[in-house]
Symmetry: C2
Subunit: 257 residues, 2 copies
């Protein structure tokens, strides 16, 4: 069994080269002492057992501090990342404005938009809290896909799902009012990140980020959120939001203008 390791593309950035490995680490990020357990993400889980050592040699477990952007839109693709711990936002900008395209948590892949013909990341990725991510160089990842058909198949299905989600959101941005989009966002986030005992969504999110996620301005989201509180659908507690009436909140989702 053969595979190739390459840091050609990766070395385009300013990197720290470790002399004990052929690996590469992006500038500001620190390497984590303890690596991931090789069974937290779909990649590790779905690749052949025999492939594990190869993954082990090629992966790099990195520490990303809160607010640190570890993928930058427009830069050359160096690899994909898997979130091992923490939470990440994937975002895209247009002029001054920003749109959060997706959130990622433990187990999720980030940077897979770097696959395909275009060799530049179409989005940025920033940690929302101190996070640990596992970096897989793109060439090794591609080699892995060739070897691990099952993972390739699942990755294809994952892309299909992502596309569906993306197009639904696209439609919402086009036609759903901000209030519905905020409601939808809260439902999605609650679903993805779960809630603590107090009913608050288990994600620390600034209002500005919620605004960027819903494709609206901070002020509008602020007002809409107040409405939802007055109507008794949600509760606010600092940077945390809780859903009080899931049914009514869901119904906000299909209210026209």
């Amino acid at each position: 069994m053969t595979y190739q390791i390459s840091n050609r593309k990766a070395s385009v950035k300013t990197h720290i080269i470790f002399n004990n490995t052929k690996s590469v680490i992006a500038y500001a990020m620190k390497r984590s002492k303890k690596n991931c357990d090789l069974q937290s993400c779909s990649f590790c889980k779905l690749c052949l057992r025999e492939w594990s050592p190869a993954i082990d040699v090629n992966r790099q477990t990195l520490l990303v501090s809160k607010g640190e952007e570890f993928i930058t839109e427009g830069e050359k693709v160096t690899g994909v990342y898997f979130v091992y711990e923490g939470a990440v936002k994937v975002h895209k900008k247009w002029g001054e404005k920003e749109l959060i395209v997706r959130f990622a948590k433990r187990g999720d892949i980030v940077g897979h938009r770097g696959l395909g013909n275009d060799i530049y990341y179409p989005v940025s990725a920033t940690a929302l809290e101190p996070s640990t991510v596992c970096f897989i160089p793109i060439d090794f990842f591609l080699a892995s896909l060739k070897v691990n058909q099952e993972y390739l198949f699942q990755l294809m299905l994952f892309f299909a799902d992502e596309l569906k989600v993306s197009e639904r959101k696209m439609r919402n941005l086009a036609h759903m009012p901000v209030k519905g989009r905020v409601a939808q966002a809260l439902l999605t986030l609650s679903d993805k990140f779960g809630t603590a005992e107090d009913g608050l969504i288990d994600l620390t999110l600034s209002r500005q980020d919620l605004a960027s996620y819903t494709g609206a301005t901070y002020e509008t989201v602020f007002r809409v959120l107040n409405e939802l509180v007055e109507e008794g659908l949600v509760k606010l507690s600092g940077k945390h939001i809780g859903i009080l009436d899931i049914d009514k909140l869901t119904s906000v989702t299909d209210q026209p203008g």
Copy 2:
């Protein structure tokens, strides 16, 4: 080499069952006398040569009349389609309003959003002109993916690209003004469908469809289009539009409010 044919899912709809095959045709569509040449779409091109006879047995070449919706959002997935001739819009609705998510022409796959965990089409597909499409039952398509790794890999890359395009459009809907979105739409369409000698984009598209594609109302698109004509960037000729100044039109694309 084995593969399975199934019309289980397909038979949920009202269908015409041909007694000489195990195949299924969606209600209103007519079967074409002449089949496709088995080399016009990526599927036929990238599958193993040895797989061709299997494709031949399972595919169905169908005639779709103008305005006919051959995939309906929310219905059970029966298979994927490849456009052999004509042009198709892929759209999604929210209440009364509609958003065109993508256009497809000769060689393009349609209905691949039916892949993944959800067994219902998340979008509809409607022919914009009399078209010929090639239907591949979903079970056979999935079997093909298992057998044809190269096609699976390319399909995955295709999905990655689609996702990129989708997210860019998402961002545009969130932050770009209508004028920019119309400009962008015209550039995209010109790129995809090409232009005739007279410089007009080679696609017959109603203003309403252009509006649905840009996520705006008919009236707004109408006005914006007039502006673009007055500024000498585009010309109109019935249902056809031509780009007069590609550079200026491109620059409209990054003009904020």
